[in-house]
Symmetry: C2
Subunit: 125 residues, 2 copies
DNA sequence: ATCATATATATGTAGTATACATATATAGTT
DNA sequence: AACTATATATGTATACTACATATATATGAT
């Protein structure tokens, strides 16, 4: 449970769940929040975010309700569920592993680049 | 250049290039080396590795040659090229960004989990 | 009133990546 | 000759990403 949902690449779901835990939100604003924490080059596509949110709702990890209060177009507000917290725990384990792998990669890349003079050349050249 | 090849998910290419920089190798042995540095749950499929190596060769990032010396079946030995080093530099930038995003994710997840008592419950409960 | 723009939620689709299954050939062992 | 291990692949369904387009409502300008 929780972990059998975790598959490679689906980190849009992970970030969505985490930010919805911090605060329930609607798609477009969540999009700004996600892209606010992601670096350039990893920015999320709004269409894919809407799809990810619907998928999360289908599998019960979030619930949504229309919000017609206030001004502007109606917004669908998403909030995380108990199942969503389970899924999120699975994501944290998955992402922790990936970060370890990336640490290994970057450590070894730097070591090789330095021994090859590449980094020295770019830093001091 | 270098960076326009970097696309999400293709980290098999990144790890292959890095390990081939450390040492030229053939597919099956490279497979063992990659899985040796990757944690459980991120293990690489051998079929996908062979495909990744052919793709790398098509775009000029590695070169291969048959090795019929020694005992056993003939092996196709791959070695990284100058273009491969360029591609690898792009990967290191991409992976560095992803690690930052993962750092943010894990930091915030832990903070939320602690404030929610989840981690405390699992550690001391 | 009407036109343009912004907000908000979607769908269409091509290319790529991943997981899991299967195929083919050669070499070594009994 | 049969069996097993090594080595290199291909087949394929599903999923993810990027980029384009569609639809509806609300707001502001003229």
């Amino acid at each position: 449970m929780s972990n059998d949902r975790v598959r490679p690449g689906r980190h849009l779901a992970a970030f969505s769940l985490l930010l919805l835990w911090e605060m329930p939100d609607h798609g477009l604003h969540l999009h700004r929040r996600i892209n606010g924490v992601l670096p350039d080059g990893l920015q999320v596509d709004i269409g894919n975010l809407y799809r990810a949110l619907r998928d999360l709702e289908v599998r019960g990890s979030v619930q949504s309700a229309w919000d017609t209060e206030g001004s502007g177009s109606a917004r669908r507000i998403y909030r995380i569920t108990a199942d969503g917290h389970d899924e999120l725990r699975g994501w944290s384990e998955d992402i922790s592993k990936r970060r370890s792998a990336f640490d290994w990669f970057l450590g070894h890349w730097q070591a090789l680049a330095e021994s090859d003079g590449n980094v020295e050349a770019r830093l001091h050249g």
